[in-house]
Amino acid sequence: MSVEKGRVVIEGIGLSKSYGPITALDNVDIEIRAGEITALVGDNGAGKSTLIKILAGAVTPDAGEVRVNGETVVLRTPADARDLGIETIFQDLALAPDRDVVTNLFLGREVLRKGLAGKIGMLDRGEMEAQALTQIDALGVNIPRSTGVSIGEMSGGQQQSVAVARGAFWAKTGMFMDEPTAALGVRESSRVLQLARQIAGSGVAVVLISHILPHVMELADRVVVLRHGQKVAELTEDISMDRLVTLIVGVDAHEAAT
């Protein structure tokens, strides 16, 4: 089940995407490796979200291909990607606020009872609860363990934890996190980042989009920099703040500023 660390599991080759006159992504190659955290950085509008949406099946590229475990795949919907073990935690979480943790964890992937009851769509609520609690315990996340409390009544950090727990629960190949700490305080941020580490530790290829460069430097095994839809750098060592900023903003802007 666990893949050897460093093996490329998800690849994007020559990915391009335009929205009318705007080129969101321009011929980008990317390799995402098992057990690693790949950080994706870039200025607003650089194309980060577009890139992982393509890899997650939420956006269809104009050109290029995606490979998972070496095989070319066509991802028409997020469900296609999920079937390949690729989970995405979107910027806006995508949780059902009126439902409890168990329901959210299994949203769209409910466990049915065995036999006839399952054939008519009866849920196996007991099984889902047991699995959910095991997962929450395994991740050590701070979520109320009682079922029946709706997500909407939890704190932002707890909600984020639920989203991460859900991703971790289903991610077998890769997990994409788009600015997972944007709405969180210091403590809750570090908790989520710790989770990202933990998930990568289990052999999943993790992609983290973040504007918070100290987080990136602290966590990432590899940093990919996008600018104006193009990949401008991929760093594995000597990742300094200055270097990142220069790459993100671009040499021209850097020079203009000096």
Binding site: A96, D98, R99, G108, R109
Partner: protein
Amino acid sequence: MAIVAIGIAMTMVSPFFFQAGNFLNVARAVAITGIVAAVSTPMLISGNVDLSVAATMGLSGMTAGALLVQELPVPVAILGALVVGLLMGFVNGVIVVKFRVNSLIATIGTAFIARGVAFVINSGRSVFIPAESYVNLGQGSALGIPKPVFYTVVAFAVIGFVMRYTKVGAHIYAVGSSPEAARRAGISVPKITWGVFLASGFFSALAGVVLTSQAGSAFPYGGQGRELEIIAAVIVGGTALTGGRGSITGTILGVVLLGIIANSLNLMGLPAPYQDISRGLLLVGAVATDQLSGRTLGGRGVFRGLRAGTEEA
């Protein structure tokens, strides 16, 4: 709780309230509203509202009546009515899902159309139903219980089961809670929405059949005005108009509560305007209390203990 309190109050003001026969009165009186309230619960939970339910009742009832007058067999008439209901649901689904029209607006529109067609069917005239076997479906009692009540129990049982124990139910809740989250979780929001509208049309038509068989007459304005009563019952039962929250248990309580109020005011001989006033007060009171305390009649308030462990939301 609320029902018990009202029950005690009513027994004090009218000695006839606490009688088996009177409970059957209440049951018969709420039976038709109950069938539609049952299906309006998933409708509201899914974040939609169907205001065409009453017009569908009228239209399907007239359809059945028109078919019966043509001396077609009773099952054909019922089938015709149900097909008309499904058609209404289908059309509402098209408008809401394909044309992305807000369901409130869409169903106000189709309600007008359905009501209009119900009038056209027999040029605005009622149809006195000649088939005794049809009328026998809704008149009289079986096992001492008024027949319409059986259909209501079936509607509540089926819809309650789906909502609480099945995947489809879970998806309806999810769609109403956050359509975007549901979509990203791989749930087909259009399919769920469409399904809910089809069910709404189907059960409204069933209510139309029960209405006409109980009345012994199909009349084009059958069910008119009931849509608001139905939504009031669902809301009083703790279902959120904004979707995502609610339960069939709550709706049953809401329906029964409104029925008891009407019944007891009748027993006391108070005229109808007072019933409207009480209904309005109850609705506003229930929703306001819900807002203030975060508790609802059928939700996590007093009735929670009854449902511990199998809480839907």
